[in-house]
């Protein structure tokens, strides 16, 4: 399934509906929706916040391949910005040193089996593969 969404945080409700439709259509167990929602939200909001030089829609593609799900987000007409190279979050740091920044990509890393970044012809695509939990 693939659909394009306006690059606005308020599009999240529509995006979650899209994920829910995918979970139902792909005969995935209902709890699979939570980590997929988290991956899609963190990548989508990352694009919206960092790729500010465009007003074009963001494409989200969801595919099931046996016991894995592929999540791919494409941002069109943007400079190359690779969120997968964000610094590793030190989850052992004490409270006074903890900052919320960077947690989104950290969550994606925790959930994903693999993450890849591609920038070609002005378009950035982040592809995440996740193993199904059940």
């Amino acid at each position: 399934m693939e659909k394009r969404f306006p690059r606005e945080i308020t599009a999240l409700d529509e995006i979650f509906e899209f994920v829910s439709e995918f979970v139902a259509a792909g005969d995935l167990a209902a709890p699979e929706a939570f980590p997929l929602d988290l991956v899609v939200e963190e990548l989508f909001t990352n694009f919206v916040r960092h790729n500010t030089g465009t007003s074009r829609e963001i494409a989200i593609r969801l595919e099931r391949h046996d016991d894995r799900v592929v999540v791919a987000l494409t941002d069109f007409g943007v400079r190359g910005f690779d969120p997968t190279q964000a610094p590793i979050v030190d989850t052992n740091a004490p409270l006074e040193e903890r900052q919320p920044g960077g947690l989104g990509i950290h969550f994606v890393r925790q959930i994903a089996e693999s993450i890849s970044y591609d920038h070609a012809d002005g378009n950035t695509t982040i592809t995440v593969t996740k193993r199904l939990e059940s």
């Binding site: 939570f34 963190e42 979050v89």
Partner: protein, 105 residues
């Protein structure tokens, strides 16, 4: 899709419900940012949280602790607790787990 809501109960407990995503973090901050004493926040009906929501909770926790208050996070459903563990914050914030909400995210 469950709408996010945040309400203060008569006993001062703050109740979160629905989905705390990036679009709702501001609404959560509007309420949590006004707390100026020790507080308890009940997650029992919260069905989803992302890094934006974790950021609001972390910021409130640090602000209240710095002011000499406490901030308890109770009845955290397993899925939500997992996100706190991803962040390495479950122990630091002392989250208290509870059962899953009846409605799935």
């Amino acid at each position: 899709m469950s709408v996010f809501d945040i309400k203060s109960g008569d006993d001062g407990t703050v109740h979160l419900s629905g989905r705390l995503d990036a679009a709702q973090a501001g609404k959560a901050m509007d309420v949590l940012g006004r707390i100026e004493r020790s507080a308890k926040v009940d997650f029992s009906n919260l069905q989803y949280i992302s890094s934006a929501g974790i950021g609001v909770i972390l910021g409130t926790y640090k602000r209240l602790l710095d002011a000499g208050h406490s901030f308890r996070i109770v009845n955290v459903p397993p899925r939500i607790a997992t996100v706190f563990r991803y962040a390495g914050l479950a122990s630091i914030l002392g989250i208290e787990e509870g059962p899953s909400p009846t409605e799935r995210p």
